[in-house]
Subunit: 227 residues, 2 copies
């Protein structure tokens, strides 16, 4: 989205904060103190504030006026809204990818699946987490439409802090990999409809797992935002 001729300090901070949020270093709900962060990254408050504003616009951070910035925390309801929307966006991306991916892109997708198979066998959830991201990003890129690509990318980022927990669940990695195979097959067969169905199910299953997770929680946590 931004030309890379001169990586400004602001831009680098945006990336670093993004990384720290996605990687789970900064958990949802934590307050982002401007002075603390500016000292930590070795720059002044001005570019840091701009970085926070940009992250807020992308949804990863929430700025409450006169109160500060916080890593966005989704309510259970918000989470389900997000997942159902993400399922549709991914469906669009997969559908278009099936029709428009180049030969090289299809080969890359297959290669990613092969690498992922290894991390599944080794039970390396950290490696799979990364390959999972690359798999989905490959599909976004394969759609050959910058708007879906950006939207899907942003959505994936917003869900990342929670997805990490999901993939830690027993057997989830193997299931996920099998679902990816179904998606890959459909894309290789240039069957957009099937690809869309498969990836929609792939995302929806995460919502179901999330619901099951919620069911194990006390009722007080369900249905209202966690502050």
């Amino acid at each position: 989205m931004q030309s890379e001729c001169a990586p400004t300090l602001k831009a680098t901070v945006v990336r670093r904060l993004e990384d720290e949020i996605v990687s789970g270093l900064l958990t949802p709900g934590t307050r982002l103190d401007e002075v603390q962060l500016s000292e930590r990254y070795g720059l002044s408050r001005t570019p840091l504030r701009e970085a926070l504003a940009q992250l807020a616009a992308s949804g990863l951070v929430e700025i409450r006026p006169r109160s500060g910035a916080f890593v966005t925390q989704m309510s259970p309801r918000g989470m389900l809204e997000c997942l159902s929307y993400a399922a549709e966006i991914e469906a669009i991306a997969a559908s278009w990818a099936a029709a428009r991916m180049t030969g090289a892109e299809r080969a890359d997708l297959v290669a990613l699946q092969r690498d992922a198979a290894c991390s599944v066998e080794n039970g390396d959830s950290e490696a799979y987490f990364d390959l999972n991201r690359k798999f989905h990003e490959a599909i976004y890129a394969g759609a050959h439409n910058s708007y879906v690509q950006d939207a899907a990318h942003q959505l994936f980022l917003r869900g990342a802090p929670y997805r990490r927990l999901q993939l830690r669940q027993r057997g989830r990695i193997a299931t996920s990999h099998a679902e990816h195979q179904t998606i890959t097959d459909a894309i290789l067969a240039e069957d957009g409809e099937a690809a869309a169905r498969a990836i929609r199910a792939h995302i929806t299953i995460q919502g179901d797992r999330f619901m099951e997770f919620l069911a194990a929680l006390p009722d007080a946590f369900i249905g209202r935002d966690i502050r």
Copy 2:
């Protein structure tokens, strides 16, 4: 997306710039000089820069590092990408609206259609432009999903500067209104599939008109970005 307890100067500037871009006062491609704008709105560069960064994140403005901010100008190719994506987003919104709209929301939609009919008869394109926006926003809200609503809203804004031209074309208003009626009927019948098909066609037609418009231009303008 932002609580309204204290409308900061930055927030108001974001809205004012949004309005001016959407209303066509600031045409795509124009450079947004920081000092000029800060003088014009009576504030300093700091909050204005934050406002520009926020608009850049939403896509209405493009910031070229060390070069300044410009109102985003879409290339012909980018416009088609945008429209094809928007068609799918609107389809999702319409489909969900058909299933989830409340009685009051359905009534509002019908009322909007009635008002629009008047502006069509009077040939008041300015009024129709506004009612068209309200019609689509009503559907976004009716989807009862903040993510689709936000995404569709942003996309609508980004297309606004160009849509204004579209609706000026002879007979386009009447056709548009008829298409809206088809969409409304499908939503009232709670037929999500039909609503999605109808609104997808409604958006796609704009793409076709745009292609026709391009065909009338010299070849030199087609296929490359206008700088």
